[in-house]
């Protein structure tokens, strides 16, 4: 960035990046602690909730603490979990239901709710605004302001820059938002969080973060088959052979169900397509029985950070903290990150409010946040589940699953061992010639669909005349390195059809990036075997417009 650009500057007590469960909870907590604090949230989505996507079975623990009267204030927690089934899918047509006694304890869901995170986010947004928080959707935090080793805020993205990088007539420069403390709650693999982790070496001495890609659809199904509150989790097919992960089917209200598949991004076979695995998964009789005759109403995808405590970076640096999935507070054993994200945001807020209340000028490291975090129930949960993912990675779904059962149900998570998985997900990808191509069934247009009609249901849109926001460090790598060695897996791991290898005039392969399709899931930034793709935010307001994901 050139130094000559004159930018408007706004100053706040606390600036929050990202209006997700962590950021919104933090904002509310700050105002609850001290209504005088000036708190601002920037959100790259066109509105609060537009970029939120989660399963979601929601554990209300953090919400109970933040708004004990949430029930009376219309929080959208309308469907208590009524039944909790866990299946092991042994083949494309068979499944074994796990007897309740063998289900690892964290996977039980009594007292939880089936919700739409998008709706909960909107509700939290309303609470925050009512408390006086300024929320600015449609404005992306482009980069951090770091001065003398202290995070001072962020610069919002420029608007009105053409495809070729030159400003258009409508050009508006970015704006500096400065604050005493900045809370980064961008969600999994936040682009600024990633940068700060590197620059401040926050991940020193911890395992690499591990990720999954979650794909989700909402269906309207036959009322006869609908059982509000029924929660179905699954493991096994279609992922046994080529990768690990899990699936879910949650019955919401209004005859809707959420169906999804999470594929661990440490899969080896570059021919694997998470999108197509998901599409074929829906044909399993245990799932199809609900979907048949129904109508798909939305689609979306988002990466999740699932490394847990072993991968959790240091969450503080001078002037700023990481909250929620930007740090990686998701509890993978529970497959839930919303309650832990909220709690981490609340803890950070309390630390910031306390520091400011005692006359602090900000800019320091909020170590009180780390302390509070270590003494919180979030840490307790994450500690108990610390080996869950690594154990599955190391021993596979069967043996790892058994070990998890023993660890969670016999030792209550306090087993005297630690397991580490030190291979980053991208490095797990094997060369194509050591793998077999996967033949996926053709979508039938009833239960399974092609990628573009799916992306269409995510209401994704970007200003077309802007620079591509998926940056290649070296533009030759996709064709010259990734293609011969890995059959360029971007074509398959992207759940939105952004990356294609097409033939040019001379019949030579060319790498094409259809950035306008991008659903902001961040998988490319994580899984590219050459770590050559950097996701940066496009013009604010772009991306999916999820309504209730």
């Amino acid at each position: 960035m050139s130094e000559e650009i004159e930018r408007d500057v706004m100053e706040y007590d606390v600036l929050i990046v990202g209006a997700g469960p962590a950021g919104l909870s933090a904002a509310c907590r700050l105002k609850q602690k001290n209504a005088e604090l000036e708190v601002c949230i920037v959100e790259k989505g066109a509105e609060v909730g537009a970029h939120l996507l989660s399963g979601a079975v929601f554990e209300p623990r953090a919400l109970d603490e933040l708004f004990p009267d949430w029930k009376d204030n219309g929080a959208p927690l309308n469907v208590p979990v009524t039944r909790d089934d866990v299946y092991f899918f042994t083949s494309e047509s068979k499944a074994t239901k796990m007897p309740n006694a063998f289900v690892p304890a964290p996977m039980h869901n009594e007292g939880n709710y089936v919700i739409s995170l998008g709706q909960l986010g909107r509700w939290l947004g309303e609470q925050a605004e009512a408390l006086g928080v300024e929320i600015y959707p449609g404005f992306a935090a482009q980069e951090p302001i770091v001065e003398d080793g202290v995070v001072k805020g962020i610069v919002t993205g420029e608007m009105g820059v053409g495809k070729d990088g030159t400003p258009k007539d409508s050009h508006v420069p970015g704006m500096e938002l400065r604050a005493k403390y900045t809370l980064f709650g961008e969600g999994c693999r936040g682009h600024i969080g990633k940068r700060l982790i590197r620059e401040f070496e926050l991940d020193k001495g911890v395992d690499p973060q591990h990720y999954g890609i979650g794909l989700k659809e909402i269906w309207e199904i036959d009322p006869e088959k609908h059982e509000p509150g029924l929660v179905v989790h699954g493991a096994g097919w279609p992922l046994n052979l080529s990768g690990s992960g899990g699936s879910f089917l949650y019955h919401l209200e209004d005859n809707q169900v959420a169906v999804g598949l999470i594929v661990d991004l440490n899969y080896e076979n570059p021919y694997l397509s998470p999108f197509k695995e998901f599409q074929r998964f829906k044909h399993h009789p245990k799932i199809a029985q609900y979907l048949e005759g129904g109508k798909r109403v939305s689609y979306g995808s988002r990466a999740i950070a699932k490394g847990g405590l072993n991968s959790l970076p240091k969450m503080t640096m001078p002037g700023a903290v990481l909250i929620g999935c930007d740090a990686g507070t998701l509890n993978f054993a529970k497959i839930k990150g919303n309650h832990t994200a909220m709690k981490s945001g609340m803890l950070a807020a309390e630390a910031a409010a306390d520091a400011l209340a005692s006359g602090g000028e900000g800019g320091d490291e909020l170590t009180a946040y780390t302390e509070a975090f270590k003494n919180s129930w979030v840490y307790e949960e994450l500690y108990a589940s610390r080996n869950f993912g690594a154990s599955l990675h190391k021993f596979g779904t069967f043996k790892g699953g058994a070990l998890n059962y023993i660890e969670q149900n016999w030792f209550k998570g306090k087993a005297p061992w630690n397991m580490h998985d030190t291979t980053p997900d991208y490095a797990a990808t094997k060369p194509a010639d050591q793998c077999t191509e996967i033949e996926y069934p053709k979508p039938d247009g009833k239960l399974s669909f092609d990628i573009l009609s799916s992306v269409h249901l995510s209401n994704t849109g970007h200003e077309e005349d802007q620079p591509c926001h998926l940056k290649l460090t070296d533009s030759s790598i996709p064709i010259e390195h990734n293609l011969p060695k890995y059959a360029e897996p971007a074509q398959r791991y992207c759940p939105a059809g952004v990356y294609e290898v097409v033939e040019d005039d001379a019949g030579k392969p060319r790498f094409q990036i259809n950035f306008a399709n991008c659903v902001h899931c961040k998988t490319c930034d994580i899984k590219d075997p050459s770590q050559n793709i950097t996701w940066v935010p496009p013009e604010g307001g772009g991306g999916p417009k999820y309504s209730a994901m």
């Binding site: 573009l452 077309e464 005349d465 040019d504 005039d505 094409q512 259809n514 306008a516």
Partner: protein, 316 residues
């Protein structure tokens, strides 16, 4: 209740616009007792004669007035209101051309009645389907039966009435005060020999399969040969083969030509949104599994670079 229908004729350069004939077809489905066509021009003889030939037309009303030399909503409206009231019409219809879109709401407001835009299906003389949300939904609406119904007809939904009729032409003198607050300055008609993409009855379109900006010449040349407008898919626009304004699709232009021929377009859903009202869709693609074939009326699998020259030869 009798349904006496008045259709306001759209015309250009002294010729009846085909949209009028389409509105007549729509009116025929409303159990009419009469379908009269109103021609408001400075010299409407030729237009009236053309309207009189349309099957189903009862009578043509020709109201010449120097003020109508260039049709403008402000001056036409008082005349239409007078004609509608004098003739005790139950329905006043216009086509959903820009002429009709500009004019009919003004007429409705002057009559103090609600208006229905874009009739696409007739259930009864007062119940119709019309598209909303850019055609992504259809609503069935019922108009009050105790007042005049003003509506525009979605031309793409109706074929033109055939020309086998011989209706009476009546010259009308309409007593209406015309405002002077709106004056015609000029009309710049599209100069290009190539028909406008949005209104052309035929459109030829190219996609990413065309391969390059230079290769697009083959599309232009073929389009010129059959007198078609030229469009493109978003992929072709994104790849820089053609400018933005040629993009057909949800984020580009939504078109309804009688013939839409697309070459090397796979049929992304956002493109299909722009052509779903086309009369006949012809798809040529070398990938037999391209989704475009699922909506095409006629499909041909093959390489556009061999097929276009063959087509060229066949239509020469």
């Amino acid at each position: 209740m009798s349904n006496k229908i008045l259709i306001v004729a759209d015309y250009l350069n002294g010729e009846l616009n085909q949209s009028t004939a389409r509105a007549v077809t729509c009116a025929q489905q409303m159990s009419p007792t009469a379908i009269d066509v109103l021609v408001l021009c400075d010299d409407g003889a030729n237009i009236a004669a053309q309207a009189a030939k349309l099957d189903g037309v009862t009578k043509v009303l020709q109201a010449d007035n120097a003020a109508n030399a260039h049709p403008m909503a402000a001056t036409l409206t008082p005349q239409i209101v007078a004609a509608a009231q004098n003739g005790e019409y139950s329905h006043v219809l216009g086509p959903n051309t820009t002429y009709g879109k500009d004019l009919m709401p003004r007429v409705a407001a002057k009559l103090g009645v609600a208006m229905i835009t874009d009739i696409m299906a007739v259930h009864s003389a007062h119940e119709f389907d019309r598209p909303i949300y850019a055609g992504n939904a259809v609503i069935t609406v019922k108009a009050p039966e105790d007042q005049t119904l003003v509506a525009s007809v979605r031309c793409a939904s109706y074929p033109a009435a055939a020309e086998g009729g011989n209706a009476e032409i009546e010259t009308l003198s309409l007593d209406a005060e015309l405002p002077s607050h709106t004056r015609f300055v000029n009309l710049e008609q599209a100069k290009s020999d190539r028909p406008d993409l949005q209104t052309a009855p035929k459109v030829v379109s190219g996609g990413r399969g065309v391969g390059s900006e230079e290769n697009f010449k083959i599309i232009y040349d073929f389009a010129d040969k059959i007198g078609a407008g030229v469009g493109a898919s978003r992929a072709a626009v994104d790849a820089g083969f053609v400018p933005n304004d040629m993009q057909v699709g949800q984020t580009g232009k939504i078109i309804s030509p009688e013939l839409y021929m697309c070459f090397g377009i796979s049929g992304a859903i956002q493109h299909l949104a722009g052509i779903k009202d086309a009369g006949t869709i012809v798809a040529i693609n070398k990938d037999p599994e391209a989704p475009i074939f699922e909506v095409a009326d006629i499909g041909l699998v093959g390489d556009l670079f061999t097929i276009i020259p063959e087509l060229d030869a066949a239509v020469s």
